[in-house]
């Protein structure tokens, strides 16, 4: 029990924060209902994938500055491939784009391993490369998305055995997020590969001496990051119906959410749940600021202050805990 609390305490408090914010939201806007929650989840979707992409590499002791650019590239690729194509063609596009993310991510990892240049520089360089590639694919926002893809994240699905009242609170987008992440993350976390990812993040030397193939594990971590980023790119295309070659604000947001979610930037610690709950919190804060009609220039100040305050609070708690 104490192990669980120590490990999950931060996530639990984040979740409590989310619930509290949700109650506040209902107080501000009593009509805030399941449809609005659905909107929230759709807004969360690309951020959640971006942060998942970032989390994997951060746990492995790295950082990936190319997350947002990777999302842009996969998004424009998907959108331009689906432009004018049939609905069925999209069935091919989705796996293609995901594979592309996986491969490009692996290339990131490979470059880090082979050149031995620090990850932050390699991914900064690939940030430019991927951005450039996105511009070559589409030099202005455009393309299209298959209708079924767009439908995949809007509305809810009737889940047998659940009353409609509850079902309404489980939007398709949330299901999609949970499924995509669970399929990849849960088996991984329990596998030896998952342990190896934590191990190289925690101590590369100790991992190597424990027989972990460090280079291969690092490449796989970046490949997974690319895969999640490709999911994020698809999520962008699904929600907007187009692809935009200029990366959105997902890079810094992903790093912020990783830290808010209790994943140490040094690597080796944390999980995926925390950062994703953090994304929900950050998006809900945004909603509340809009609902309250706060001066938009002040919202930047508030968002920054919240970020700093939460992390400071966390640091303060750990400091107290240590004494």
């Amino acid at each position: 029990m104490s192990h669980f609390l120590r490990r999950q305490g931060w996530v639990a408090s984040l979740f409590a924060l989310f619930v509290m914010l949700f109650i506040i939201t209902r107080l501000i806007q009593p009509a805030y209902g399941s449809g609005d929650f659905g909107s929230l989840v759709r807004a969360v979707l690309p951020y959640a994938f971006a942060v998942a992409a970032q989390t994997v590499v951060v746990i492995a002791g790295g950082i990936d500055l190319s997350v947002a650019a990777m999302m842009a590239l996969t998004s424009v690729t998907a959108a331009s491939m689906m432009n004018g194509a049939s609905e069925e063609y999209a069935l091919f596009v989705v796996p293609f784009v995901l594979a592309m993310g996986l491969v490009l991510g692996a290339v990131n990892g490979l470059l880090i391993v082979v050149t031995r240049v620090p990850d932050i520089v390699v991914t900064l360089a690939t940030l430019f490369v991927l951005q450039g590639a996105a511009l070559l694919v589409l030099d202005a926002p455009g393309g299209a998305a298959a209708e079924w893809l767009k439908a995949l994240i809007s509305g809810t699905v009737p889940i047998p055995g659940l009353p409609d009242g509850i079902d309404a609170w489980i939007p398709k987008a949330l299901l999609l997020l949970i499924i995509c992440i669970c399929i990849i993350w849960i088996p991984l976390r329990r596998s030896k590969l998952g342990l190896s990812i934590y191990a190289i993040g925690s101590s590369e030397l100790a991992a190597f001496r424990s027989g972990v193939p460090v280079a291969r594990t690092r490449i796989i971590a970046y490949a997974l990051s690319g895969l999640f980023a490709a999911f994020g790119g698809l999520a962008l295309t699904m929600s907007t119906g187009i692809g935009a070659p200029i990366p959105g604000p997902y890079l810094l947001a992903s790093v912020a959410a990783v830290v808010l979610g209790g994943v140490a930037l040094g690597g080796g610690k944390g999980g995926l749940l925390g950062p994703i709950v953090a994304v929900f919190v950050l998006r809900l804060v945004r909603t509340d600021l809009t609902l309250l009609a706060i001066d938009p220039n002040v919202t930047a100040i508030i968002e920054g202050a919240i970020m700093v305050a939460v992390v400071m609070f966390g640091a303060f708690i750990t400091m107290r805990g240590r004494q």
């Binding site: 934590y198 027989g211 193939p213």
Partner: protein, 519 residues
């Protein structure tokens, strides 16, 4: 015995840039043998182990395993070949719990648990994160993890250096049984007691070269030391202080007074005095509160009750700088804690000079250089790789941690196991140094996990058990059995069988480098 060697390495060389860590090392280990690998600090023992287990690629050399040439390229490959190391630094993944660490290396859990119990740690929770486990226990876990897969050759790099006596004993027992069961162990240690109690043969390295292989027979220590040190044969007589000194120290006001110190559940009521010109030894088993005592004196933790007095004045430390200002300098046992590994020897030694806000300005390079050089010379630090401390051998790193406070001219030095992993020659130097410091009026509080050191260096012995001072007695009464009994919390004078170190047969050859301190 004419069986093929389990492991046969010859002509092994390794260059780190301009530094040749190994030139021409060879090592041959027979089945059923506990084989000692000996050498002064920086001789290349750890490097050889790393090469044999694939952690570091060799620049040259040939390695045969069971007579077959094998290219061991990674620790995983070595593991498959039946070679399991316990390196000088713990290699559990700090952020994973013990269980995950086992799964990562494919170690079966039940045998591991059995070994852990056998090695004297009955209450391990395998869900504990490695980072939260004390260093000594980590080392034992490292060993248990290696033992659990029943390796053909076990390579132990200074396994016992960081262990308190009770754990060290168990390790020795287990290692000896490994040898008896037909497997082989390569055992690195600077402690002759252990070598003679345990090993069959010894390979001696000097400056990266194998200079001899000897059978361990009573009296061979002299020869090994000669081989190890080459021309540099040191025969120092570190005498404890003379009787006149004793009188002087007793009379003067205590330099440091500790009064009823408490910290959580770890320290319950510790009181003692430390006089000017005195070296007081602290003896304790693992985890009896000695870490907390030193941390409190160093200003790293705040005691929950009790008082510390310096020169009769009560002091309160909120940060190590307060302790340093009061003249207390702390040398931690774990050198990784004390050194900026990527910086030079010089910068590491000069670090305390810049600590205070008013010393943030330009540095007087000439003055600094003079001080640093004199400290380096005084401790005979091997400066071949001085550009980065991490390239020094373990022993030389350890010396840098002490040199810092010599250069800063601290009045009281709190040494926590300073000779951990240091070769005999260097040990002698450090003993001499501590005595010299005491002779110059400095005070030294000296915790050691090697009981025999107490007799060499200390004037008085403070025994801690269960967070309390259970006994304080003069060094004259501190022979090893007495210390051992006291450390176990037994009243002085009681008799009890406490393991092989008490066995007169295995400890009797221990004469070569302990000249005449036992009464």
């Amino acid at each position: 015995m004419t069986s093929t060697p389990l492991l046969d390495a010859s002509g092994v060389a390794k260059n780190y840039g301009a530094v040749a860590a190994l030139r021409n090392a060879s090592l041959s280990v027979l089945p059923g043998e506990v084989h000692a690998l000996m050498g002064a600090n920086g001789a290349g023992k750890s490097t050889l182990v790393k090469i044999l287990t694939g952690a570091v690629p060799a620049s040259a050399g040939r390695i045969l395993i069971r007579g077959e040439a094998r290219d061991v390229r990674s620790p995983a490959a070595a593991r498959r070949a039946g070679l399991l190391p316990v390196y000088q630094e713990p290699s559990l993944i700090p952020d994973l719990d013990v269980l995950s660490n086992l799964r990562l290396t494919g170690t079966p859990v039940e045998p591991f648990r059995a070994w852990v119990r056998e090695l004297g740690i009955p209450d391990l929770d395998i869900r504990d994160t490695a980072r939260d486990i004390p260093l000594a226990v980590l080392r034992v876990l490292d060993l248990a993890r290696a033992l659990a897969v029943e390796p053909d050759v076990l390579l132990l790099d200074e396994m016992t250096a960081a262990l308190p006596a009770n754990l060290a004993e168990k390790v020795l027992e287990v290692v000896r049984r490994q040898g008896d069961s037909g497997r082989a162990v390569i055992f690195i240690s600077h402690r002759f007691v252990e070598i003679s109690a345990l090993c069959d043969r010894a390979t001696v390295l000097r400056d990266g070269e194998t200079v001899g292989v000897v059978d361990i027979v009573p009296g061979v220590e002299e020869k090994i030391v000669e081989l190890m040190l080459g021309a540099r044969i040191v025969k120092t007589h570190v005498a404890a202080r003379g009787a006149n000194q004793a009188a002087a120290t007793a009379a003067s006001r205590p330099r440091l007074g500790v009064r009823n110190l408490r910290f959580g559940t770890k320290l319950n009521d510790v009181s003692f005095d430390l006089a000017d010109g005195e070296v007081a030894g602290v003896v304790a088993l693992e985890g009896q509160g000695q870490d907390e005592l030193f941390a409190a004196l160093a200003g790293s933790i705040r005691p929950s009750a009790g008082a510390i007095e310096v020169d009769g004045q009560p002091v309160k430390f909120t940060h190590p700088i307060d302790a340093i200002r009061a003249g207390l300098a702390y040398v931690p046992g774990d050198r990784a804690e004390a050194l900026a590994m990527q910086r030079s020897v010089r910068e590491n030694i000069a670090l305390p000079f810049s600590a205070a806000l008013r010393n943030w300005g330009p540095i007087n390079m000439r003055r600094e250089r003079a001080k640093v050089v004199s400290a380096i010379e005084r401790l005979r630090i091997d400066t071949r790789a001085q550009g980065e401390v991490q390239r020094l051998s373990g022993g030389n790193q350890q010396k840098v941690t002490i040199a810092r406070w010599i250069a800063a001219d601290a009045r009281t030095i709190l040494c926590f196991d300073p000779t951990r992993g240091i070769d005999v020659g260097t040990k002698q130097e450090i003993y001499k140094l501590l005595r010299e410091l005491a002779g110059n009026g400095k005070s030294v509080l000296f915790y050691t996990s090697e009981l025999e050191e107490v007799q060499r260096v200390c004037d008085r012995v403070i025994v801690i058990f269960g967070g309390r001072v259970v006994d304080i007695f003069p060094v004259e009464e501190a022979d090893e059995p007495a210390l051992m009994r006291a450390a176990y919390g037994l009243p002085r004078g009681a008799k009890a069988d406490i393991g092989i170190l008490a066995d007169p047969h295995s400890s009797s050859p221990e004469t070569s480098d302990s000249p005449g301190t036992t009464p």
